[in-house]
Each structure stands twice: as structure tokens, then as C-alpha cells.
């Protein structure tokens, strides 16, 4: 065992009060099974935020360790060391540096890949040297055994000085044992350190240690290395560290490299005595053989395209059945209610709440499928290969292979996609990725696309295999992708790089997706969507209904009176119509429709829409679309709900689908209002426009500056206006 300098001995951990639940942090390398373990420990009791207002940095959940003993588990992002290389990893040091912080964990569980011990232990020794009590979760013991790796757990436990629990987080074996160890608080600090700063560093380290009142030398060294990224240091503190570092001639890079090499030496010594490797198979590992196919010169791209195609097929074709079901269900419910009851409250319920709710629920199949698909790609390890395949292709546009994952996730939702860009270490690559991701057609645009495309594009076959509607949809997606790449290229020219861009990453071994993890992801995304987007949509629908139903003063009443007088006059002029009772009913219906239209026009919403009509008329839009555009700036998905609400005012409720309502809409000339050119102009507008508050909020949070979200808003909306103008002026 290593001998310890007396001064470096870590003080005993502060024991938590017995009544307070334990707080335990999970830390480990990427792909070490940390997320699987987290899911095993917490199940559905997780709090993961992907939308503004909820914590996104920390994934936490509650675990029942033993009867009457609950613990809060914090899942930290995967990392290779305690020296963060990306923003994602910085969260870890923020949490572990400050012992006084309210979220400081009582102890940590380090997940370690047993088949790859040497590298995994690097992080472990750093965590322990920081003075954190730790338990080692020796994961993937089955993989290690298959690789011929035999680990003498008892000897390793003696050498490392912390409890070790062999386990397999994917199957769940060993989790029960881990819970017992966690509940007993058998987390300990080993008696000795694995590495300590050498004599020449001690003056600097001791100075920092006493200045900041830190509990150990290694933490003080971390301050010298990381002071720029430590969030809780004041400007004065930082200035002091800068001064000290310069005064002692501290070479951060060289010292860090020395430390890493020294740690590896120590780890090698430990492993020599505790691990024996007997290679049983001489053939290449299965994963490498799969890679030969999936990253093949030609086959690799073909397979990637096929997978993308399957994804689209799933979202547009398979999702159609449950969506139709939801749509018809809402229509039927609304019709049934209106048939039995009447009054303003019933109208609020059917035309406001139900119409809005329908607009939310209808997304669920597509969102579930899209996120499910992406989760499977991520789980199997295929996403890393996509990154690998695409890197060279993306670089001319100022993006890196790592931008591909945010861009593809952007097809689902830009909010998690933008947060996914955290893994990109280079500032410039990351900013470009964040900026252009919202141009990818997200799932909120899907209903807009589906409704409008189905309205104007005939359901005709193209080249025998494709469908014209499918082709147009594909075109809209490609338009978004093209705009994203083009904008990225422009930004590449405009921005200056702050540091070199990296592309070093580990290829995870291929494995079957754990369906529980996939299901959990789908559940969380759908829940987050229904709750956060749903609340906005339903609220807007209700407000909108009120605005569309009521108007200032007695303008509405006067407009109604005027229409009724006109209708009465025309009826008296054509008495033959009154002879047939059926014709009479038709006339009455026409009167009611005209009355409703007149009331809507003089309502608050109508006045609002009319006031912006001059701006959007060149795009081929009228005041009704104007209302939908305005509400869409809160979130695009509101569009369908808004259209549904606006066009259902005064229409029969059983005209359930939005499409039917839009198709019934006539222009002043009596012709269908939604011509192909008008619908195309509107579609193009939705492809480009920045109409999502959540995206702007997350861009602000991720870039820490208003310049980026404002840039997105102005740039994308300007692009949308110009493109829609072009479409309408040329084809309209």
C-alpha cells in the first residue's frame, strides 16, 4: 500500500444527520453502465428535466435502499477524469469541489467497467484522492469473464481500500448487494492516497489550501488547475489564484500529464497483483467485426440511409393509425358533448379546451416513435458510428461528426438536441451546432406539415414505389437540412475558433438495447411534452377561444344584425327558395355560417389578425392565418390547435378533423381558400421560422448570452419571411 504524507491524510467525512436521507452521487466513464445502474436503483422515481424551468444539469432520483431508508441518487455525466474537457463534465467538478454546498454528496458510487479496469480506475483514484468516501461498483463482470479477465475482488478491495461490489447493471445482478452496502454506509475513504502532488508543488498547493480553507492538498491542486471553471469563486479569488499560479510558475498542462501518467503507473502496480488475463479467443471481438460492416466504405452509408428511411417511415406511416384514432376520438367526444348540452361553458369546453387538447395528444405517437428510435440507436452504440461516418462530411460546413447527433435529435425536438451539443468540446463547433439545430424539422412541425400537405397534395403514387405526399414531406425535411448546413457554412466563415476542435472518443461495444431504458426515455419525453407543451397549448387554446368569441363593445352584435338583415332581404327577394323545406334549412345554415364569420371578424382575435394582415398579405396569408402565426410563436405545435379553434367557431362540431375544417374554408370568390401555392408558402414559412420559446430559452441557457437566441429569432424568421414571399410571389 502506498505510504501517506501525514498532512495529506483525508479528514474523516462529515457524517450526515441520521434522520436526513442519504445523498449519493453516481460517477463513472461513459459506457460504464452508469445509466443502467441509475435506472436499476431508481426505476420510475426519476426527475429529469428537458424543458426550461426544470433542472437539466443533474439527473436525480430516489432509491429505496432498505426498509425505511431512502437515498437520493444523483446521476453525473460520464467522464474519463476529474479534469473536465467539455461543459457536460464541468457539472461534476462544480458538485464535488465545494464541501459546503447543499448538494454535496455523502458518498459516491464509482461505476467501473471490469473489462477495462485500467482506464476506469484513473477516475476512481482521482475521486478518492479528493477525499470523497466511495464504493466501487465493479460492473460488466460478465463481459470481463468472456474476455478472459479474472479479478481477485478480495485482493483488489484490500489494495483500493473501499468496498467493491461485483455486478451486472444490465441484468440487475449485484444491484441488491450494492443497495445493502449503500444502506450500511459502508463507503469509506481509503487510508492512503493513490497519488499526491510532489514537493515542488507543495508551496503553491499549501497556499491555496489555507487560503480557501480546503480539506486536502489534491483539491487545492484542482483549484490551481481549474480556477477558470469553478463557478462559485469570486472575481477576487480568481485574481488571487492567477497571481499565485504565475508566481510559482505552475505549468498546468505538464502537471496534469505527469499526474495522469503517475496514476496509471500506480494502477498498473495494483492490477498486476489482482488481475490475471487469459485470452481465450484469438479472433477479433464481435464488435470490431460488426464495425467492418457498419462503417464499410459504401455499405456504411447505405445502412445509415436505410435506418433514417426506416425512422421516417415509422414516424409518418406507422404513427398515422394511432393519430387518426386520437383525432377521431376527440372529434366524436366533442360532437357528442355539443349534441347533448349547449351554452357558453360547453362551447368553451369543446371549442377551446378539447380542440387544444386534441392538438397536444395527437403528437404523442410520433414523439414516442421518434424518441424511441433515437434511444435505440444510442443504446446499441450505433450513434457513435454515425458520428464517425459523418465527421469528414460535416467538417466543410464548420460542424463536426459530433454535431450529427444533435442534428438528428433535432428531428425530434430542438430542446434536448441543443443540450446534446454539450458533448462537443470545441466552442465554435458547439455554437454553430446550437445555432442551426432549430432549422431541422422537429416533431412540432410534423402536424403542420401533415395537415397542409394532405390538404393540397394529392395521394398519388410516384415512380410506382413512393407516394407524392411522402415525397413532398421528404422535400420539406431536406429543405430544413439544407438551410441548417448552409447557415452553418456561413457561420463557419464568420466565427473565430477559440480552441482546436477534438474528435477523440471511445467506440462503445455494440449491445442489444435495454428495452427498459428505451421505454423510460420514451415515457420521460412524452410526459415532459404533454406537461410543459401541453399546458401552454391548452392555455393558449382557451385564451384564443375567448378572444375569437368575444369582441369589443357591441361591434359583434351590430355585425350580426347587419348580416341577418341582408340574409332576410335576399330570402324575400327569392321566394321560390322558401317553398322547399330542404332549401329553407340550407338557407338558414348559410345564414348561421355568415353570422359566425362576421362575429369572428369583429372579435378581439379578428381585430388582432386584421391589424397584422398588411405584413403577411404578400406571403398569401390572411388574418386567420395571422392569428395562427402569432400563437405559433409560443410554440409551433399550437398551429393546428389554433386553426382548429378558429375554424371551428361556428362550424358543426362533428367536422372533427382540422383538415375537413380547412377544406371547407372558402375565399371571398367562393373557391377553396387553401390553394397549393398558399399552403406551400405557409409550409415553407414553418420550415424556417423560429417559433419556439423553449428553444430560445434553452439556447440562452446553453450559450449564456442573449445574442445567440436573438440571432436565431431574427435570422430564422427573416429567412422564413423571405422564402414564403418568394413562393407566393412566384406561384400565387
Amino acid at each position: 500500500m502506498s505510504t501517506t504524507l501525514a498532512a495529506s491524510a483525508p479528514p474523516l467525512p462529515v457524517a450526515p444527520a441520521a434522520d436526513r436521507p442519504l445523498r449519493i452521487a453516481l460517477i463513472g466513464n461513459p459506457n460504464s453502465g452508469k445509466t443502467s445502474l441509475f435506472n436499476q436503483l431508481t426505476g420510475l422515481n426519476q426527475k429529469v428535466g428537458n424543458f426550461p424551468g426544470v433542472t437539466v444539469d443533474r439527473k436525480s432520483g430516489w432509491a429505496q435502499l432498505a426498509p425505511g431508508r431512502r437515498a437520493e441518487i444523483v446521476d453525473l455525466p460520464g467522464t474519463y477524469s476529474l479534469y473536465p474537457k467539455s461543459l457536460d463534465e464541468q457539472v461534476i467538478t462544480d458538485l464535488l469541489y465545494d464541501r459546503a454546498a447543499p448538494n454535496y454528496p455523502d458518498f459516491v458510487v464509482v461505476t467501473v467497467d471490469a473489462s477495462n479496469l485500467r482506464r476506469s480506475l484513473l477516475l476512481f483514484t482521482q475521486v478518492v484522492d479528493l477525499g470523497l468516501p466511495a464504493i466501487l461498483a465493479l460492473n460488466m463482470t460478465d463481459v470481463a469473464a468472456r474476455h478472459g479477465v479474472t479479478i481477485d475482488v478480495a485482493a483488489l478491495q484490500r489494495e483500493l481500500g473501499v468496498p467493491i461490489v461485483p455486478m451486472n447493471a444490465r441484468s440487475g445482478s449485484g444491484v441488491a448487494a450494492l443497495k445493502i452496502v449503500m444502506a450500511e454506509r459502508l463507503a469509506t475513504c481509503p487510508a492512503g492516497l493513490f497519488w499526491w502532488p510532489d514537493e515542488t508543488l507543495l508551496p503553491l498547493v499549501r497556499h491555496l489550501r489555507y487560503y480557501f480553507n480546503l480539506h486536502n492538498d489534491y483539491l487545492a491542486l484542482h483549484y490551481a488547475q481549474q480556477y477558470r471553471h469553478v463557478g462559485f469563486l469570486t472575481a477576487d479569488d480568481r485574481a488571487h489564484v492567477v497571481e499565485l499560479v504565475a508566481q510559482h510558475g505552475f505549468d498546468a498542462t505538464a502537471r496534469q500529464a505527469q499526474e495522469t501518467i503517475a496514476r496509471y503507473q500506480r494502477i498498473n502496480e495494483i492490477l498486476l497483483e489482482t488481475v490475471t488475463v487469459t485470452r481465450t479467443e484469438t479472433r477479433e471481438p464481435v464488435s470490431n467485426r460488426i464495425d467492418k460492416v457498419l462503417t464499410h466504405r459504401v455499405g456504411g452509408y447505405l445502412i445509415f440511409l436505410a435506418i433514417l428511411f426506416l425512422l421516417f417511415q415509422a414516424v409518418f406511416t406507422w404513427a398515422q393509425y394511432p393519430m387518426d384514432l386520437i383525432d377521431r376520438g376527440i372529434g366524436a367526444l366533442s360532437g357528442a358533448i355539443q349534441a347533448r348540452f349547449s351554452g357558453p361553458l360547453v362551447r368553451l369546453l369543446t371549442e377551446g379546451v378539447l380542440a387544444g387538447l386534441g392538438g397536444v395528444l395527437i403528437f404523442i405517437p410520433q414523439i414516442a416513435l421518434l424518441f424511441g428510435f433515437l434511444a435505440v440507436l444510442e443504446e446499441t452504440g450505433y450513434m457513435a458510428r454515425v458520428t464517425f461516418l459523418m465527421d469528414k462530411l460535416m467538417r466543410p460546413f464548420g460542424l463536426s461528426g459530433k454535431s450529427v447527433v444533435p442534428l438528428i435529435s433535432g428531428l425530434a425536438c430542438a430542446v434536448p438536441a441543443i443540450m446534446g451539443a454539450r458533448t462537443i468540446e470545441s466552442w465554435k463547433d458547439r455554437m454553430i451546432t446550437i445555432f442551426v439545430t432549430p432549422l431541422m424539422s422537429c416533431s412540432a412541425r410534423i402536424p403542420v406539415y401533415t395537415v397542409l400537405v394532405a390538404l393540397v397534395v394529392p395521394d398519388a403514387p410516384v415512380l410506382a414505389v413512393f407516394n407524392l405526399r411522402g415525397v413532398v414531406l421528404m422535400g420539406l425535411y431536406l429543405l430544413g437540412l439544407g438551410a441548417a448546413l448552409g447557415s452553418a457554412w456561413v457561420l463557419k466563415k464568420l466565427l473565430k475558433a477559440r480552441e482546436r476542435s477534438y474528435f477523440i472518443m471511445e467506440f462503445p461495444v455494440y449491445k442489444w438495447p435495454r428495452w427498459k431504458n428505451v421505454a423510460l426515455t420514451i415515457y420521460q419525453k412524452v410526459r415532459a411534452f404533454v406537461w410543459s407543451a401541453g399546458q401552454v397549448i391548452v392555455a393558449i387554446s382557451v385564451v384564443l377561444w375567448a378572444l375569437a368569441t368575444y369582441g369589443p363593445g357591441n361591434q359583434q352584435a351590430e355585425a350580426e344584425k347587419k348580416v341577418r338583415l341582408e340574409e332576410a332581404a335576399s330570402r324575400s327577394r327569392s321566394p321560390e327558395a322558401g317553398l322547399v323545406s330542404g332549401g329553407d334549412a340550407e338557407l338558414l345554415q348559410r345564414t348561421e355560417r355568415r353570422v359566425a364569420a362576421a362575429r369572428l371578424e369583429t372579435s378581439y382575435a379578428g381585430i388582432f389578425g386584421r391589424s397584422i394582415e398588411p405584413v403577411i398579405r404578400p406571403l398569401g396569408f390572411d388574418w386567420k392565418i395571422g392569428i395562427a402565426l402569432l400563437t405559433s410563436f409560443a410554440a409551433r405545435e399550437v398551429f393546428v390547435g389554433t386553426m382548429s379553434t378558429i375554424y371551428s367557431v361556428g362550424q358543426e362540431a362533428d367536422l372533427g378533423t382540422v383538415q375537413a375544417k380547412l377544406r371547407a374554408e372558402r375565399g371571398p370568390d367562393g373557391q377553396p381558400f387553401f390553394t397549393p401555392a398558399r399552403a406551400m408558402s405557409l409550409l415553407v414559412f414553418y420550415v424556417f421560422a423560429m417559433q419556439c420559446m423553449s428553444t430560445l430559452a434553452v439556447t440562452y441557457r446553453e450559450t449564456k448570452s442573449w445574442r445567440w437566441p436573438l440571432g436565431q429569432l431574427v435570422y430564422m424568421t427573416g429567412l422564413a419571411y423571405a422564402a414564403a414571399l418568394l413562393v407566393w410571389q412566384v406561384f400565387g
Partner: protein
């Protein structure tokens, strides 16, 4: 010496063997890491002097590369320019 065959002009720099100049299937042992900042990341990922590396493949467009570390322990993917900072023992 492999690089001698690949590069017609045999300057002193060209003789230097790096992970970037390996041919697919070829193996080498890490000698040192040239670029200090890159070295920190490479070290953390296990590219420590003395470790054996094998170029197991390249992306379809020639870049990035797949580098297998140790005795088939795990695979890293990195760009040609990054691999060129890893010098191998002659």
C-alpha cells in the same frame, strides 16, 4: 520504416512513425505524445506511452480512424490530425 515506402520524400520528419501513418491492420507501441493539450485527452482515454495500438480501420472518406488499444481492449475513434500527434516506437 513503413512510412518510407508511403512517402517518396524521406525527410527526417517523414521517417517518424505515428499512429496516423499506420496502415490498416498494422500495430505499433506508443512512444510519446507530441501535442501537450491533445496529450491530456489522449492520456485520459488510455493512450499511455508503452501501450500497443492497432489501426483497425478508417472511415469511408479516409478520416477519422479507428484505433484499437492494448490487446483488443477497446476502440477509440480519432481524426488523422490527432493520430499524427501520437509517435510510435520505431
Amino acid at each position: 520504416m513503413m512510412s518510407l515506402f508511403r512517402r517518396p520524400v524521406a525527410t527526417a520528419a517523414a521517417v517518424r512513425r505515428t499512429a496516423g501513418s499506420l496502415r490498416v491492420g498494422e500495430t505499433g507501441t506508443i512512444c510519446c505524445l507530441e501535442d501537450p493539450t491533445m496529450a491530456l485527452k489522449l492520456l485520459e482515454m488510455g493512450c499511455v506511452p508503452g501501450v500497443q495500438v492497432r489501426l483497425s480501420g478508417r472511415a469511408p472518406l479516409g478520416d477519422p480512424l479507428m484505433l484499437v488499444l492494448g490487446d483488443n481492449e477497446y476502440t477509440l475513434s480519432l481524426r488523422q490530425s490527432e493520430a499524427a500527434t501520437i509517435t510510435l516506437k520505431p
